[in-house]
């Protein structure tokens, strides 16, 4: 595929998926009603029909949230795969998702309101990575990637154990179902306020990754090579980790733990546009957003009840990825 045409094509596909996703859901809204509702909104009509409520209070925020989640997780995954020079890395390698999960299930255990649960999730994710970074710095002075990864594994395992303990202590009739469902990931309860809070954070977090994408790509050559090319490795690494953690924690706080997307979408992007990070990152963001919107559409309309997102991303993404691998075997993997 000609690389110059791919990114615009992906962007167009993303918009197409967004439009289609907005029209599908348990509450039937024909496409012409979608357009009419949008027109009413633009004009500023005061009397909302039920369709307006469904569209603007429930469905569009959800579609937008799905795009944010997909974009954030894919970008974080792509950045980490370049940073750690390892194609099997997911955004959770430093424990941000597990830490966010711990914060949120503690909130559920304590019976806190939803906003507090989300905030605890966000805080838990950030705190976990801070602990990991501090631990790695204390152990080896911050220059060694391996120590960082090991610290991430250890702290992530501790957070995972704490989550299991919370599950044992939770009330099986009232709290445990909520905890289980949260840990599987879902956008069923997304409100416009959630999107309004998450959107700026994700944009702020993605900005450094996008602006510095050439230098991040250089990092995958190895520390010495990168330094020889004028890249400040330690500082760049810190920026990438901070940005990826910020976007991941903020989306996990509203959607719960969704695995597989951050691991797989960068590979899809790589198969389409090649391994160069400055092309792969925008492609990952676009593909991730579209993929998540499609999966969430299925989550809300596949059955009469909500299907957890984490289940769907694995069930759909796995075979899809195998198919892409079989087709694009000629493309280089780093």
């Amino acid at each position: 595929m000609r690389s110059a045409a791919v990114l615009p094509a992906l962007a167009a596909a993303l918009i197409g998926v967004a439009i289609i996703a907005s029209g599908i859901g348990p509450y039937p809204i024909p496409p012409q009603d979608v357009v009419a509702a949008l027109a009413r909104r633009v004009v500023g009509a005061v009397n909302p029909a039920p369709i307006d409520t469904v569209l603007f209070q429930i469905r569009l925020p959800r579609v937008l949230a799905a795009a944010l989640v997909g974009a954030a997780l894919s970008a974080a995954g792509a950045a980490y795969q370049s940073l750690f020079r390892n194609p099997l890395v997911s955004p959770d390698i430093l424990g941000v998702s597990t830490g966010a999960g711990l914060g949120a299930v503690l909130g559920i255990l304590l019976g806190l309101p939803v906003a507090a649960i989300q905030f605890l999730g966000f805080g838990g994710g950030l705190a976990t990575v801070l602990i990991v970074a501090a631990l790695a710095r204390a152990l080896r002075g911050g220059g060694d990637i391996l120590v960082l990864v090991l610290a991430g594994i250890v702290v992530g395992a501790l957070a995972g154990a704490a989550i299991s303990l919370v599950k044992v202590l939770a009330d099986p009739y009232e709290q445990l179902p909520a905890i289980t469902f949260w840990l599987l990931g879902s956008l069923a309860g997304v409100k416009p306020a959630d999107v309004a809070a998450t959107l700026p954070v994700v944009v702020i977090g993605l900005a450094p990754l996008v602006l510095l994408r050439w230098r991040i790509g250089v990092l995958s050559l190895g520390d010495d090579e990168a330094r020889a090319l004028g890249v400040e490795v330690t500082r760049l690494r810190a920026i990438v980790i901070a940005a990826a953690t910020l976007v991941t924690a903020s989306v996990v706080a509203i959607s719960g733990v969704i695995g597989w997307v951050g691991l797989m979408v960068p590979h899809m992007a790589r198969l389409l546009v090649g391994p160069r990070f400055d092309r792969m990152l925008p492609a990952s963001i676009l593909i991730g957003a579209a993929f998540m919107m499609a999966v969430d559409t299925l989550a809300r309309s596949g059955a009469r009840i909500e299907i957890p997102l984490g289940v769907l991303t694995a069930v759909i993404g796995g075979p899809l990825f195998v198919w892409l691998l079989a087709r694009g075997r000629r493309r280089a993997l780093p």
Binding site: G25, P26, Y27, P28, P48, P50, T53, V54, Q57, I58, R59, R62, P113, V114, V168, A170, D171, P172, Y173, E174, L176, P177, A178, F181, S186, A188, G189, K191, R300, A303, R304, I305, E306
Partner: protein, 348 residues
């Protein structure tokens, strides 16, 4: 002559041993529990361990004097609605069900005469019962917890515990309530049956699908549960706000106080008929839930309550008096007007 003497000594030794063994425990009766297991139980039973919250509630209504503790200690708000002798019993933990927190050693240390479990009967629970019985040496009875089996369950446990008089009184009251329900719904045509959504959690997005134990009594009073599940026997499910709008329930029963208070102000719920017509009802929960949790005999009064809110013109009698007499008979507490109002208001 040596062999016949040693043979006699051997026979004497055997008889002594047999005598010693038979004098130890006083297991005089054999009962058959709901799972078809023949269990040997002592003649008199004075200490009973309840394995989970449904069993706890069943034991409390039948024989509170034989309780040795609660699965979960009652909260302060619940204590005034329980009879005085059980309010401060210790919390012992749960033995089976979703989440074991009890160590078998602690079970033995509590020195119960028998253990009872009230809930699902399947091979898993049968084998669990047998294992505990063998390891701890305490008789373990399984009682079928299905709602339509309530009167039978009461009679079975009453027979085991030796409180047949009380058991018969409670079982007759149970039959009377169920007859009343059937009477009322026989007079309601199918087209007038309400469409009900059970809203759990502060966001109200968790519910029980059709056939689930959570919505059992809502369906028993003839209402249609709007949430169709994937299987015939439902369970806990999550739904999106959009889906609820599409279901268009005309009545919402919620278990969460903050949901009941805030739902009218949530824009995403405005298109729901139940919210527009202000038919959102908070289920009482003192001392035990009327509708959902725990899934035990406490739901009988929930049937009466549902009759009055779903079919107000057809439900017989005064709800307040019926609640008062239920609490007196089953929970052995007298409710004054203030307490009754607090219960029906959904406090706690």
């Amino acid at each position: 002559m040596n062999t016949s003497l040693s043979r006699r000594l051997f026979a004497l030794g055997l008889m002594l041993a047999a005598a010693a063994l038979t004098t130890a425990p006083a297991f005089a009766r054999t009962v058959t529990d709901s799972a078809g297991r023949a269990v040997e139980i002592p003649d008199t039973i004075s200490r009973v361990f309840a394995a989970g919250p449904p069993a706890s509630t069943l034991l409390y209504v039948l024989a509170p004097e034989k309780m040795i503790g609660w699965v979960r200690a009652p909260r302060e708000a619940e204590k005034p609605y329980l009879t005085a002798s059980v309010r401060d019993l210790p919390e012992l933990g749960r033995l089976t069900g979703r989440g074991d927190t009890l160590n078998l050693e602690r079970l033995v240390a509590a020195k119960p005469d028998i253990v009872i479990d009230f809930g699902t009967i399947n091979d898993t629970y049968r084998s669990l019962a047998n294992r505990v019985q063998q390891q701890a040496g305490i008789p373990y009875l399984l009682i079928d917890g299905r709602f339509e089996n309530t009167a039978e369950a009461i009679r079975l446990l009453a027979d085991v515990l030796g409180v047949k008089g009380r058991g018969e009184a409670l079982a007759s009251a149970t039959d009377a309530i169920l007859r009343q329900v059937d009477d009322v719904i026989a007079r309601v045509p199918a087209s007038d049956r309400p469409r009900v959504y059970l809203a759990r959690g502060t966001e109200g997005l968790e519910s029980g699908s059709r056939g689930s134990i959570n919505t059992e009594i809502i369906e028993r009073v003839g209402a249609t549960n709007v949430v169709e599940g994937l299987r015939e026997k439902g369970g806990l499910v999550n739904v999106s706000a959009e889906q609820i709008i599409a279901f268009a329930p005309d009545t919402i029963i919620t278990l969460d106080r903050s949901f009941a208070q805030t739902v009218a102000g949530k824009p995403a719920w405005q298109p729901v008929p139940a919210v527009r017509e202000k038919r959102v009802f908070l289920a009482p929960s003192l001392p035990f839930g009327f509708v959902d949790v725990p899934p035990s005999v406490n739901r009988l009064i929930g049937l009466t309550w549902l009759l009055h809110i779903l079919y107000p013109d057809k439900a017989p009698g005064d709800l307040k008096e019926q609640v008062r007499s239920f609490y007196k008979l089953f929970y052995q507490v007298d409710l004054d007007d203030a307490a009754l109002a607090r219960v029906l208001d959904g406090a706690g």
